[in-house]
Amino acid sequence: AQTVTQSQPEMSVQEAETVTLSCTYDTSESDYYLFWYKQPPSRQMILVIRQEAYKQQNATENRFSVNFQKAAKSFSLKISDSQLGDAAMYFCAYKRSGGGADGLTFGKGTHLIIQP
């Protein structure tokens, strides 16, 4: 079975600084998808960024980027120029490829605090 590990229960960063959230996973599959979801206090899960395992290039979405190391099974999220609105729980998630029927496997989450 796949597992996803987020080793940082909580992280704190000054506004405008850069922060990196860690995620490792375990799978025997060669093709899969990885995601970072954000859950603000409103509880709505919002997709931040997605990475297809077959792509070597790291995904980027504005201030959010990932460092995907397939051999090391590592998938970290970097948030540049942190803003107060980035404060939230962040979840790393894994999905096997090959159709949408499979659910996501989530890590336990990292609570990100932004210090003004």
Partner: protein
């Protein structure tokens, strides 16, 4: 925009009651999911459905059942609620068209069982 709605944001029930949590999506998605979210445990998959009347157990199905009579609606049922089912419940859906593999989530239902 994809919209996934859940019938209640907050729900309080008593031990032994039968509880229905409803989820509706408006994007004609084939696949729907129910997750449970607990502090320090992340989200865990309870059940999912890949078509009308079809269902599959997830990682923690014990104490739950589901119903999918219509494509847009996926219900989670607690036959006899217990205090250890106090949790946040999140519904999600995903289609077979782009964007592939992106699950869209509802706003969640916080269930308290007294």
């Amino acid at each position: 925009d994809v919209k996934v709605t859940q019938s209640s944001r907050y729900l309080v029930k008593r031990t032994g009651e039968k509880v229905f949590l409803e989820c509706v999506q408006d994007m004609d998605h084939e696949n729907m999911f129910w997750y449970r979210q607990d502090p320090g445990l992340g989200l865990r998959l309870i059940y999912f459905s890949y078509d009308v009347k079809m269902k599959e157990k997830g990682d923690i199905p014990e104490g739950y059942s589901v119903s999918r009579e219509k494509k847009e609606r996926f219900s989670l049922i607690l036959e006899s609620a217990s205090t250890n089912q106090t949790s946040m419940y999140l519904c999600a859906s995903i289609g077979r068209a782009p964007p592939y593999n992106e699950q869209f989530f509802g706003p969640g239902t916080r269930l308290t069982v007294l």
